[in-house]
Amino acid sequence: MAEKTIQTKTPILRAQNLGIQFGGLKAVDSFSIEIGESELVGLIGPNGAGKTTVFNLITGVYKPTEGSFYLCGQRMNGKKTHQIVRAGIARTFQNIRLFKKMTVIDNVKAAMLEHLTYGLPQAIFRTPRFWSEEAEITRRAKELLAVVHLSGKENLEADNLPYGQQRRLEIARALATDMKLLLLDEPAAGMNPTETEELLEIIDYIRDTFKVSVLLIEHDMSLVMKICERIQVLDFGSTIASGTPAEVANNPKVIEAYLGKPRKERGPDA
């Protein structure tokens, strides 16, 4: 597992031997990764390999029991989720989590606290600062909705959007936090080929315009192979391979993890 990244400056995300243990189970064991600026890295592995757990570690939902991780050189261990998000790591969820009974635009605005500095008195007396800040985030929220092709749907209830659009709205909400690193947890799950194609365009566009790095969990192999620059493969919590898509695809360990060992080679030690 030689490090293949060209290290020019501090990576956006650096995780060192990150691990978490639930009782006797090591869900993730010494997970290390480095993601540079505007890089798109894929995280794959069979079901239960610990991919989402890695996301939960990086976003502070779980506290790592070992190792540490850094965002732009800043240690993030032990910080609370909202602090980590403010620092610049945003995510989407495997099972969509939107603010269902709120409008599409309010879903995006809710994540824009960074841009809102007015306090309670300003809100209650409706000072000019209140109006200008609210107008500013409305404008920005509309921009972000345009990025994920949801213009014109601002005032719909989020719950009423079709599935694919709900996934895109989640991405817009993540963008609203002004992150440096975007974690996408199976963004194409349940999408049809056209929707997946549209999603790919959006991810490309986001990387180009916002200069963000992306860590992507995905089961759709064709998608992963197409867009990821590097892939890291997890199995039973440990990294079994990492490298370019081509390298990973031909790695016997990866093939074994996904398909099992060929029958004649199965030795006494498993």
Binding site: H82, F93, A111, L113, A123
Partner: protein, 345 residues
């Protein structure tokens, strides 16, 4: 944009003033005959109940957490304001100023109590939080039963009668307006996001605990103000007034009015505080009738009378002027300006 907003503020002010003018004219010219004083009393009761119910709706409707201890905060406000006004009486303050100072003191005390209870309690969710808030209200009641300054379990009487209908009405208007402005700002948006999905809210960078405690404190503050007005209207009170039944009554008014709708709370509180009085002629069956009404509303309108829909005078006027059809047949829920129309939960 801003002009439209100013216009809508003005319109609402005119609407509120009109309601006030009609009611006070009716009271001044004995519009209800012999029972005018009685009706005025019912209306005053409705006004301070509206403050309490709307404030509870901030927690139940907008934050999505159950609180069964709202009466506890009401009682903190009531007692603190009663003590303040008796301490400041005769210091040269006018009646109105005295009432405002006392009520504000009650509100602040209740707000502080809200923070103190909220910090440990709001780590919990759902049923657990409901039980903790209920326990807190009981603690407050027992404390007031044992303190000398609050009458030590006996009736605390001789509180100055400072709350008239007019003052109660306008205090209610100010409180509800402030709550509206709170809900329609980044605070309300954040709190609703937490209600919808707290995990996603955290992932959107929202400090969930902070906003929960803040909302709880704001809600308690207004509960305290409601309590202050109550104390200066009743002039006598006993800690057992603020028992679990009172919390449950406030909660049922929130739910009947519509969780997540402040205008719903206004209607719910006014309706339910007047209902037992309106049904006096059924004498002993009136509490039965009251329960039947509650059951019927829950059966046919599970989200409350208003659901999450807010009544808007501006929108109504828009509708009336734009289409000249029969206003009575217009369904208020399908207007283009009401994308979040009511939906049964």
């Amino acid at each position: 944009m801003t002009k439209a907003i100013k216009w809508s503020y003005l319109l609402n002010l005119v609407g509120v003033a009109a309601v006030f003018a009609i009611l006070s004219a009716l009271f001044a010219f004995n519009g209800f005959g012999d029972s005018t004083t009685y009706v005025e009393g019912v209306c005053t009761t409705a006004c301070y109940t509206i403050i309490m119910v709307a404030s509870l709706n901030l927690v139940v409707g907008f934050m999505g957490e159950f609180s069964l201890g709202h009466a506890g905060f009401v009682s903190v406000g009531a007692y603190v304001s009663a003590i303040t006004s008796s301490a400041l009486a005769g210091k040269g303050l006018s009646d109105l100023a005295l009432l405002l100072v006392a009520v504000l003191a009650g509100g602040i005390a209740a707000g502080i109590a809200g923070v103190l209870v909220g910090i440990p309690a709001l780590r919990l969710r759902g049923d657990y939080l409901a039980i903790v808030t209920m326990a807190f209200a009981e603690i407050i009641r027992v404390v007031f039963c044992n303190l000398e300054i609050t009458g030590g379990g006996r009736t605390m009487s001789g509180i100055l009668r400072l709350s008239s209908f007019g003052r109660t009405f306008w205090i209610m208007v100010v409180c509800v307006t402030v709550m509206f402005l709170f809900v329609r700002s980044r605070f309300g948006r954040t709190v609703q996001a937490i209600r919808e999905d707290y995990i996603a809210a955290e992932a959107a960078g929202i400090n969930v605990t902070f906003y929960k405690v803040l909302t709880f404190a704001v809600s308690s503050f207004f509960a305290g103000i409601g309590g202050g007005v109550y104390a200066h209207y009743m002039t006598a009170m006993i800690p057992t007034n603020f028992d679990f039944n009172y919390s449950a009554e406030l909660l049922s008014e929130v739910i009947i009015g519509g969780t997540g709708s402040l205008t719903g709370s206004i209607i719910g509180a006014a309706f339910l505080s007047a209902l037992p009085e309106l049904m006096r002629q059924f004498s002993k069956y009136r509490m039965l009738a009251y329960s039947v009404v509650l059951v019927l509303v829950m059966l046919f309108r599970p989200g409350g009378i208003f659901g999450r829909w807010e009544f808007s005078l501006t929108r109504l006027l828009h509708k009336l002027t734009r289409r000249k059809e029969n206003a009575a047949t217009a369904d208020p829920t399908d207007g283009p300006a009401a994308p979040l129309a009511q939906k049964g939960e």
